[in-house]
């Protein structure tokens, strides 16, 4: 079952609904993560459970809609957390865009990489993007000194999120009329 690849059909109501659901899911996971889990003593490192929404969007809807889901999720979290316009939003956007770019690149390589690979690469790119943004914001390379610890944590988080995403993609009755990739 594949959707018609014409652009007129690409934002079919069902696709819009799923994208909206994923934005909501990602926003809630992101808020829960920042509210409940203690902040790690490393700036820029979130465990990244919210990334599961973007991984899902990539698998179900493709790279372009996943970008929309990712950016909207950051904006919604920014509004809800009251950090819109501050440096936290810049960090979040840098991480989200970095993760999306790398995951989208891997997801277009056919079946060479699965959601687990996307997720691990995305988590690493998320951290690197945030550390680079933090370096620019502070005008100092000091944040980059956190790279080793952050990358190691990102590996663990990326693996967990990727394995969870694969389990869900294989078991959920997916009501989207599109090809599921990366599973």
């Amino acid at each position: 079952m594949r959707s018609t690849p014409s652009s007129a059909r690409s934002w079919a109501p069902r696709v819009v609904a799923v994208a909206g659901l994923l934005v909501a899911l990602g926003a809630v996971l992101g808020l829960v993560e920042s509210a409940l889990l203690p902040p790690l003593p490393v700036p820029g490192v979130r465990i990244g459970i919210a990334n599961i929404a973007v991984v899902f969007a990539l698998a179900l809807l493709g790279p372009r809609k996943a970008l929309a889901v990712s950016v909207l999720r950051v904006v919604v979290v920014g509004i809800a957390a009251g950090t819109l316009g501050g440096p936290s939003l810049v960090l979040a956007l840098a991480g989200a865009l970095g993760a999306w770019a790398v995951m989208a690149a891997l997801s277009t390589r056919g079946s060479r990489f699965s959601v687990v690979g996307w997720s691990v690469a995305g988590a690493a790119a998320h951290v690197v993007g945030q550390l680079i943004a933090a370096s620019v914001l502070t005008g100092s390379p000091a944040p980059l000194l956190f790279a080793p610890v952050s990358l190691a944590l990102a590996l663990v988080c990326g693996l967990s999120v990727g394995l969870a995403a694969r389990l869900l993609l294989l078991r959920l009755p997916l009501a989207v009329n599109v090809e599921v990739r990366g599973s």
């Binding site: 902040p39 003593p41 700036p43 950090t83 501050g86 440096p87 936290s88 960090l91 891997l106 390589r109 079946s111 060479r112 990489f113 699965s114 687990v116 690979g117 691990v120 690469a121 690493a124 933090a134 914001l137 502070t138 005008g139 100092s140 390379p141 000091a142 944040p143 980059l144 000194l145 956190f146 790279a147 080793p148 990358l151 190691a152 990102a154 590996l155 990326g158 693996l159 990727g162």
Partner: protein, 119 residues
């Protein structure tokens, strides 16, 4: 996991492993000074004798504490105070960062040293 996935995992591991020695090289191995960068510019502080310092951040003054050759952020006007929770650092290559205030402190290296070498 596909073969590609394993490559990704190995790549991230390799990156972390390579970045680790790079942070020490970037700090030029000195653990008796720290470089403080803020909105007001960059300055170098000695990690002895013990004292507290005020650094002007983007949102107000940060209080730094220097004790026993280690430096920590005692207090800072930022929402999540991650910089305060980072505790004290003393090893060359270690750093404290407060992004909301645009302030960072890294142990080691003079202001004339390399910015960073990340390969």
């Amino acid at each position: 996991m596909t073969r590609g996935d394993r490559l990704v995992v190995a790549g991230v591991l390799a990156l972390a492993a390579l970045a680790w020695p790079a942070t020490y090289l970037a700090a030029a191995g000195r653990a008796d000074v720290a470089v403080v960068t803020g909105p007001g510019g960059t300055s170098q502080i000695a990690l002895r004798p013990d004292r507290t310092l005020e650094i002007e951040g983007a949102r107000g003054p940060l209080t730094l504490r220097v004790r026993d050759g280690a430096v920590s952020v005692l207090d800072a006007p930022c929402p999540d105070r991650l910089c305060v929770h980072q505790g004290q650092v003393c090893a060359a290559g270690a750093a404290l960062v407060c992004v909301p205030n645009g302030v960072s402190v890294r142990v080691g290296g003079g202001s004339d040293a390399l910015d960073a070498v990340i390969r």
